[in-house]
């Protein structure tokens, strides 16, 4: 039976749902866009703070439909943090790009609703609904700059590919349902020998494929560069962090709880991990567009996450979560800095300061931006003492614990390659002179809210780099 106190456990979800709806209403009746913005901030902050309430509780409510435990709470907090930073960085960007509509925030909130449903859902039905809610919002947000062909194209590509892969995901769920007669995740996790039947394994494989698409794992990574390039930069940042966290939040607990029954998949995951890291790291070298470069870097990151998923042990749980923590800060930070440069472009066409060449001499024009970007890139490259280092470290440690020593060696070698293109960008910023001589220091205007967002990300990157264990002191995963 559903009891009234069950609603206690989904307060963050309720807040986001109400907030998303009310934002639409406010937007319809108010001319002042600031109201919508601040209301969104209040909503996300409220959801974020209430997410901590049930940090020590592990329970299943709503007739086995909602699962509240430390994992789901951690993922909720991560998602909401990513959204909070994205919202802060969005305001000046969408004003500058002429897409300052209230729906922007509303869609963001609806997508968060989907993400939270995904990570707390204890039934594949809820997971599917959450995934679709998130994806549909993302399709629209990717094409939010509707006057621009690039944005339109990225939305269409994302939509067609996303809907296509949803088909496989659903087929997988149908087959799993056919074998077990249930779509409840807890029941699936405790199904025992039935899991080893071929039909179930095929269904499970197709199910995983649907999420690998969202993560951008080879060979389903093709959409990533195109969509990331065309979408508004703040949305790209959000998709690549919050979206990924939600996808990982679904598959990671399932994989870890089924670990002993799905060893068949270990070679598959390992090969996918290596190919993903390889494709991401190698192709990134020849990119001349910064957003595409970071898109390939995020494919490589998906590869590292896959290393953890292939390990399927508790260490992987810890490692992937910490990698995501670091990822929220460094990836969002990098995208926010790209968006700052984009906003300060004097170009009127679609190529707004997004070429590598535009980053030449950034260190002289705006040293602070350059230092911050360098820190994010170092962290993404996994250089201590930044947070990204510990993320990679824990993941490769998990792989070694799972006896996947060859996988971690290959992974570390490939991550050496990835240092190459991060350094390339750093060399452009610090050791090359700008082509454009008319730039001076005051060209780059950064709004206070964006400033705040960047500060949050830099603090996170440094703090979790210096004190990695603090996170697990709070979230006892």
């Amino acid at each position: 039976m559903i009891q009234l106190q069950d609603f206690n456990y989904i307060i963050p979800l309720l807040i986001i749902t109400i907030g998303a709806t009310v934002t639409l209403v406010i937007d319809a009746f108010s001319k002042n866009k600031n109201v919508v913005f601040w209301f969104t901030i209040v909503t996300v902050v409220a959801a974020l703070s209430t997410a901590f309430i049930h940090i020590d509780i592990a329970t299943i409510v709503f007739n086995n439909f909602i699962r509240i435990n430390i994992l789901s709470t951690t993922f909720q907090v991560l998602i909401l943090t990513a959204i909070l930073i994205s919202v802060f960085s969005s305001k000046s960007y969408i004003e500058k790009e002429g897409i300052n509509f209230g729906e922007y925030y509303s869609l963001m909130l609806f997508s968060v609703m989907g993400m939270i449903l995904m990570v707390i859902g204890n039934d594949l039905l809820l997971v599917f609904l959450g995934l679709e809610l998130m994806s549909i919002c993302f399709y629209v947000l990717a094409g939010f700059m509707r006057k621009r062909i690039k944005s339109n194209e990225s939305a269409l590509k994302y939509f067609l590919l996303g809907a296509f892969m949803t088909g496989f995901l659903l087929y997988g769920i149908a087959l799993m349902y056919g074998v077990l007669g249930t779509t409840n995740i807890s029941t699936i996790s405790s199904a025992g020998e039935l899991i080893k039947t071929p039909t179930f394994l095929i269904g499970f494989g197709l199910f995983m494929v649907g999420f690998f698409f969202k993560l951008g794992v080879f060979p389903f990574q093709m959409w990533v560069p195109d969509v990331y390039e065309g979408a508004p930069t703040t949305i790209t940042g959000m998709m690549s962090t919050a979206g990924k966290i939600a996808a990982v939040g679904v598959i990671l607990p399932i994989v870890v709880s089924l670990a002993s029954n799905i060893t068949t998949f270990r070679p598959v995951f390992s090969v996918a991990a290596i190919l993903t890291m390889l494709i991401g790291s190698v192709i990134a070298l020849s990119q001349s567009n910064v957003k595409r470069l970071l898109a390939y870097s995020s494919i490589a990151s998906a590869g590292y996450i896959m290393v953890g998923i292939a390990s399927m042990n508790d260490w992987a749980l810890k490692g992937i979560i910490f990698y995501l923590v670091a990822y929220v800060f460094m990836q969002l930070g990098a995208f926010i800095i790209i968006s700052i440069l984009e906003q300060n472009s004097s170009d009127t066409n679609e190529f707004k300061n997004l070429e590598l060449n535009n980053y030449k001499g950034l260190a002289k024009e705006n040293p602070v931006l350059a230092i911050f970007f360098t820190i994010f890139l170092f962290s993404l490259a996994g250089i201590p003492p930044f947070a990204g280092f510990w993320g990679k470290y824990y993941i490769f440690y998990a792989a070694i614990q799972a006896n996947l020593i060859w996988l971690s060696i290959v992974g570390i070698l490939i991550s050496v390659v990835s240092v190459y293109y991060y350094l390339k960008l750093i060399v452009y910023m610090w050791f090359m002179d700008s082509d454009n001589t008319e730039y001076s220091q005051d060209v780059y205007r950064v709004s206070p809210l964006t400033n705040f967002a960047v500060s949050l990300t830099i603090v996170g990157t440094l703090f979790f780099g210096l004190f990695p264990e603090v996170f697990f002191n709070l979230f006892k995963v």
């Binding site: 095929i202 093709m222 190459y420 990695p468």
Partner: protein, 636 residues
Amino acid sequence: MSNFFYLVVLMPLIGFFINGLFGKKINNEKISGWLSSICILIPFIISAGTFFELLSMSPESRTIHQVYFSWIATGDLGINYAYLIDPLSISLVLVITGIGFLIHLYSIGYMHGDKGFAKYFAFLNLFVFAMLNLVLGDNLLLIFLGWEGVGLCSYLLIGFWYEKKFTGDAAKKAFIVNRIGDFGFMIAMFLIFANFGTLEISAFLSQISGIQINDGLLIAISLLLFLGACGKSAQIPLYVWLPDAMAGPTPVSALIHAATMVTAGIYLLARTSILYALAPFTTHIVLIVGLLTALMAATIALKQNDIKKILAYSTVSQLGFMFVAIGNFAFTIAVFHLITHAFFKALLFLGSGSVIHGMHEEQDITKMGGLKNKMKITFVTFFIGSLALAGIPPLSGFFSKDEIMYLTFITSGPAYYIITLIAAACTAFYIFRLIGLTFYGKPRYDEAHLHPHESPSLMTIPLIILAVLSAIGGFIGLPHWLGHSMLGDWLAPVFSGAMSILSTYQPEHQTSVALELGLVAVSVIVATTMIVISFKKFSKQTTFEEPTGFGKVLENKYYVDEIYDKTIVEPIQKTSDKILWKIFDIKIIDGFINGVANYISRLSFDWRKIQTGVIQDYTTLSVAGIVILLIYLIFR
């Protein structure tokens, strides 16, 4: 007060952030300077409160272990961010924050008008933060964090006036020489972790307690730690950076290169006293190194003309005395001398800073003279500091130094005692040469253009406070023929482990009050004689000749820098230039790396073409992937 103890470390960090991030925006010397001074004063007050809290406990239970959070935990390695508050660490915290606060005050006057004012205070606060971590950390990694942190701050502050080339060179020299010591520290840390599976000091010490004396592993670890200590505390052969470090602002020399940072090596050895009690072989090496350093630096100081260089060599020599104390297993006395030295050496450095300030950046004592009447407070306080350094009773230096010399006599023998006596004699001589040339005689500077003046009260008040401390500081550790050593009782629980190990193999030494009084009389007479000779000679000297013979060797610091250049630096540079760089690096490494890099970037240019932009190609690839997956699952 120990509930707020985290503030002790947090406040300097906050000061660092505020001054570092907003210093330029605030652009106000008063706010920047006082803010960072208060960020040191509050920790001083809190640690004083904690001190009395410890005092109210019973002697055996005087430790507070504060674990803040788990810092790093992977596999077998679990490290907490935790502080160990015990009599030893709290004593040093009091010295660091107390003297640190005075030097911050002094700096507000000294650095007045400098364009890097806020930056200077930011670095100074960061230094205090790192130093407190070093002293308080309960595990070697946290200590190492502080260790490297103080090294970094020292580097930044030596090179603070980076426009001048020699400051940059001096900063680099300090950094590189310290790296050699750090290398020893790190290897020791790895050895400890590999063999004992922990980096927490108390756990490590309790594990080794059962091991036999002079075990090979313990000797290796203790020697490596001592190498680290040599780097930080400027002992032979790694002392060369400290005299050059005087290129930084004078208050920095007083705080970092005299009172606190350079004593980190002593602290490390005292903290791991059980290890050194178990490895008498190493401890004997510590003794010899300390003796040689004390003697060598004291003789070099005889012939130097730069006021700060003299004090720098004096610091090296006094640090040598502290190592001599540790070499005689007299850990308490080493800490005692550390504290008194911090008082009078900080005083002497600040006094010299006041002189330099008054003389408009003149540091050559042959170009001074007769400053006695023009800078009265500076003169009086400097004189008190010098008497303390020379070991004249009842000033603080007398108690601590004579105790070291006495212990050397009874533990190691008369021969070693003679060396310390010569070093002490040289000390008395050079410091009164400095006084004579600087404050007495006729002015040797251009009186028409240079008008030396007393420094502002912000600078003289710290001088007065430190002079009082230098004068009475010795009473915390009275020798037993005179009374009761409060410091000895206070530190006894910390070193009780080492002492009980020591009593198992070392025979009880015959102590005799008569002998001790005799030795005291000898050293006081020697010191007084040296003072008188030196003073008579130099207070009237007007002409200066190039020294010849041994004097020239001394003036050139035994040519140690030149020897290092010829035997170590140049061969390394030559091999790295001719062989390592031109052949190994360019041909082999670069060839390999560039080859791989070129190959990968060509690969990249080919592979990126899979991104055709057409949706059908993407879906085809995905379907192909799914089909392969299905084939694998069906036919596996």
